[in-house]
Assembly symmetry: C2
C-alpha cells in the first residue's frame, strides 16, 4: 500500500492502483454496529468482547448413560461378584431436583443429566445388567416401554473411580472468561458457543447493502430480443453476484440509459437502500459518458468533500475509474468502466475490499500466491501500467486464459485467478514466477 494522500493529485494525475485503492479504503468506514439475532449474524464481525455469564457446563453432569453411585459401593465389583444396588429412580437430562443417592443405592442417569446429590461417580450402563438380572447389557430399555427400569435393583460389574464419566461444572468455560473477542467473524462454531452461553442476540457490523447499476443505451435485459447495435446487460448481474459473494446484500438495478437526468434520479432513488453504490460504464472520454456528467451533482451540491472524482489509473484493464460519495449521507460510490472484464477486475481490486471494510473485516483482500507462468509464449504488458490477466491456477502454476481484451467475457468464466504484471515489466517469459490473485 502506498502512502498516497487521498484526493490531492490534480486532474491530470495518472493514479497507481495502490493510490486509488488507498483513497477508497481511506474513505470507506466500517458500518455502525447493530444487535442481530444469532443466525442473522452469521458471517458478520463481532464488535464487542463477549464474556461468559455462566460456567459451562453449568453443573456437574454425566457424560454417559448409566448409574450414578457412590465409589465405595462399587469398589470391589466384578462380573463374578457384582455390586447389587437399589435403584432409587431416574435422573433424566433437564432434571431440576434429582433424587438423592444414599449408601447402597444407585440412580439411573442419562447423558447430560446433573450428578444427583450423594452420588460420587457414574458407571456406564454397559458395565451393569441394566436392572434386568441377565448379565451385561448394551443399553437401557426406553423409559416409555419399560418404566420399571427406574426402580428395583441393578448389578454393577466394574468399579469406577471418583467422578468417572462426570463432566465438571465449568470444565468447558468459566463465568467471567472471555468467550469471543471483538473482531471475531461469526461462523457456525462461534454461533454454537454464543448460543451455549445463552446469547440470543449479538452486536455486529451488518452486511452492507450494495446497489449495482449498469449504464448504457445499448443494454438489453437477457431473454429479450436484441436490436441492431444492442448487447445484453451482463455487468449488473455479475457485480450483484460478486457483491453477494463478498458478503454483501446485493441489489441489482437494471441497466440505465445514457441520459444524465435519468441516471441522477435513479441513483437518488436508490440511495435509501445503499451503503455502497456501484455503477458500470460511462466513465471514459466519450461524448455519451453520462456517469461523469451526472455524478458530480447528486443531492449534495453544497456539501464540502462530497462528489465523485473521475481519474485515469495506471492499470489494464480498468483505466477509467470514478470514486467519491453521493447524497446527503455521503454514500461511497465506485464508478467502474463498462467493459465486462474491466468492471469485473475493478470490482475485485476496489469494490470487494470496500465491501469487506464496511463489514469491519481485518482481511479485506483476496489471497495472493506466487506461481510459475505456464504459457507457450511470453506475455507482453504495457509499460507503466499494472496488467491483470485472467488465468487458471493449480499445482504452483498459472495458465493464461483468453487474451488481454477487456471484452472477453467467455475467457473470464474459465478463469479462477488474476495474473499480475507489474508496472515496470513489459515481458514475462514462460516459466517465470508471477504474482497471482486467487479468485476463490
Amino acid at each position: 500500500m502506498s502512502s498516497a494522500e487521498p484526493r490531492t493529485p490534480g486532474p491530470d494525475h495518472l493514479w497507481s492502483v495502490d493510490e486509488h485503492l488507498a483513497d477508497v479504503l481511506a474513505t470507506v468506514r466500517p458500518l455502525e454496529p447493530i444487535e442481530l439475532q444469532l443466525l442473522d449474524a452469521q458471517g458478520c464481525v463481532l464488535v464487542e468482547d463477549v464474556m461468559v455469564p455462566l460456567s459451562l457446563p453449568p453443573f456437574d453432569n454425566s457424560s454417559m448413560d448409566g448409574y450414578a453411585v457412590r465409589v465405595a459401593d462399587v469398589s470391589g465389583a466384578s462380573e463374578e461378584f457384582p455390586a447389587d444396588l437399589e435403584v432409587v429412580g431416574d435422573v433424566a437430562a433437564g432434571a431440576a431436583d434429582p433424587v438423592r443417592v444414599g449408601p447402597g443405592q444407585a440412580a439411573r442417569i442419562m447423558t447430560g443429566a446433573p450428578l444427583p446429590p450423594g452420588a460420587e461417580t457414574v458407571v456406564p450402563v454397559e458395565w451393569t445388567d441394566g436392572g434386568l438380572g441377565e448379565g451385561p447389557v448394551s443399553g437401557m430399555r426406553a423409559r416409555s416401554l419399560a418404566p420399571e427400569g427406574a426402580t428395583g435393583h441393578v448389578s454393577v460389574y466394574r468399579p469406577a473411580e471418583a467422578r468417572a464419566h462426570v463432566r465438571a461444572k465449568g470444565g468447558d468455560v468459566k463465568a467471567g472468561d472471555r468467550a469471543l473477542s471483538a473482531g471475531t467473524v461469526l461462523g457456525p462454531p462461534q454461533i454454537a458457543l454464543l448460543a451455549a452461553i445463552g446469547r440470543g442476540t449479538v452486536r455486529v457490523r451488518p452486511r452492507p447493502r450494495v446497489v449495482v447499476l449498469s449504464t448504457g443505451s445499448e443494454l438489453v435485459q437477457p431473454d429479450e430480443q436484441l436490436g441492431g447495435g444492442q448487447i445484453y446487460d451482463s455487468n449488473s448481474f455479475a457485480l450483484t453476484a460478486a457483491a453477494r459473494d463478498a458478503g454483501a446484500i446485493g441489489y441489482r438495478v437494471g441497466a440505465v440509459a445514457d441520459d444524465a437526468d435519468t441516471l441522477r434520479s435513479t441513483i437518488e432513488d436508490q440511495l435509501v437502500r445503499a451503503d455502497l453504490m456501484v455503477t458500470t460504464g460511462g466513465v471514459s472520454v466519450g461524448a455519451y459518458d453520462v456517469v461523469k456528467e451526472a455524478l458530480s451533482h447528486v443531492g449534495d451540491e453544497d456539501e464540502p468533500g462530497a462528489g465523485v472524482e473521475f481519474r485515469k489509473l495506471a492499470m489494464q484493464p480498468g483505466k477509467p475509474q470514478g470514486f467519491g460519495t453521493v447524497g446527503p449521507d455521503h454514500i461511497p460510490l465506485l464508478a467502474l468502466p463498462g467493459n465486462p472484464v474491466s468492471s469485473y477486475v475493478s470490482f475485485e481490486l476496489f469494490v470487494r475490499p470496500a465491501i469487506r471494510t464496511l463489514m469491519g473485516l481485518q482481511d479485506v483482500h483476496r489471497p495472493t500466491v506466487r506461481a510459475r507462468l505456464n504459457a507457450d509464449k511470453a506475455l507482453s504488458s504495457p509499460r507503466g501500467r499494472r496488467q491483470f490477466l485472467r488465468g487458471a491456477h493449480g499445482d504452483g502454476e498459472v495458465t493464461p486464459v483468453g487474451g488481454s481484451g477487456s471484452h472477453l467475457i467467455a475467457a473470464l468464466a474459465q478463469a479462477d485467478a488474476l495474473i499480475v504484471v507489474p508496472e515496470d515489466v513489459e515481458t514475462v517469459e514462460p516459466g517465470a514466477e508471477v504474482e497471482v490473485i486467487l479468485l476463490g
Copy 2:
C-alpha cells in the same frame, strides 16, 4: 472410500466412518433440477450444456471513443500534416442504424458502438483535435453540453491500420460454441457470461432445504432463564449455520422435548419443507433417547426400505448415529449425537457431504492436508476408533485446541481444522505428520 454394501451389516456391526459415509452418499441423490433466474442460481450447479445462441460481440464495434474513418483518409496523417475530415454524425452505443462514412468523412464513435458502414478503422479521440481546431485533446465534450461536436470537421494526427480499435463480431464467443458445460458451479463470472449471451434463466439443481432440530428436555432457548439441570440449546443454531455455510437453505426448528409423540409429529410437520432433515441428541443407549424410538415410524410404516437405522460408529466423538429416510417421499434424515462437539464433527463428516451431493456438486468433501503436529505431549487415541480432534492450522503445522471431550464447545470456536487420528493409531508424537481436515 470403502466398498461397503449399504445397510447389510447386522445390528451389532461397528460401522467404520467410511462405511457410514458410503451408506449416506449411496442413499442421497442430487435434487431434481429447476429453472431459476440467474441471480437465484448463484452457487448452484448447471445441469445443461449451455450453447451460445449469438456471437459475442454480436457486431463489429469500437473499443475506443474516437472517430470511425477510412484507412486511406488517415494514412499520411501527422501532427504537422493532419488529415482533415468531415464529421457526418455520432455513432453512440446502441445505435441501430448508424450513419454511413464516405471518403473524406468521419463519424464520431463511442466505445461499444457498431462500426458504421463505410468505416474501416477507428482513431481514438486522443489522436485528434476532437473537432475543436485547437490541437490534440484528451477526450470528447459531452454531447449534452456540446451537440455541435457531432458535426463540422475533425483533424486526425495519426494514421490507423485497418480494423484498429475494432472488436470483431464473434471475437469473444461464436454462435454454436459451448458457453458452459453441465456440472459448472455458477459464480459471478459464469453468471456474467450467461447474461451476456442473453440467458435470463438457467436450469440448475436448487439449494437443498435442510431442517435442523435439536432434542432434549434439558434445552432452553438463549436469552431465557436457565432452571436447575438445564442448558442452552446450541446445536440447532450451530447446525443451521453450518447447513447454510455448506450451501443449503437452513431452517432451524427449536429444541424438541424428549417425548416420542411430540418429536414424531414435529418431524411430520416439517417434512413439507425438507430435502434433508438433521436431528441432534437422543441416539445413544439411554432410557430417554426418544429419537430412536420415534424415528423408525414416521409416516411410512408400510414403505419398504424406509425408516431410520441406529448404529455405532468406530469414531470419536460421534459414536452413536442414525441414518435413513422418513415420510412418504423418503426424505433423508441424519440423527446426530447430542453433544455439541459430536454433532458438529458429525455434521462436517456426514451432513455436509450429503448437502453437497443434493446440490449435485462433484467435490463434496472439505479439503485435507498433511501437517506437522505441534504439541507439547503425544496425542492419545482409542484403538479401533478414528479420532477427530480440534486444531488450529497454519504454516504446515497443526496445534490441538482444547481436549478430546465432546462437550468442549469453547475450544471448538477457536479451531479451524480437525486432526484425524486413524483407527490403528493410539499415539501421535509431537512433530509427527497427521492428516488435517480444513474447516474453511
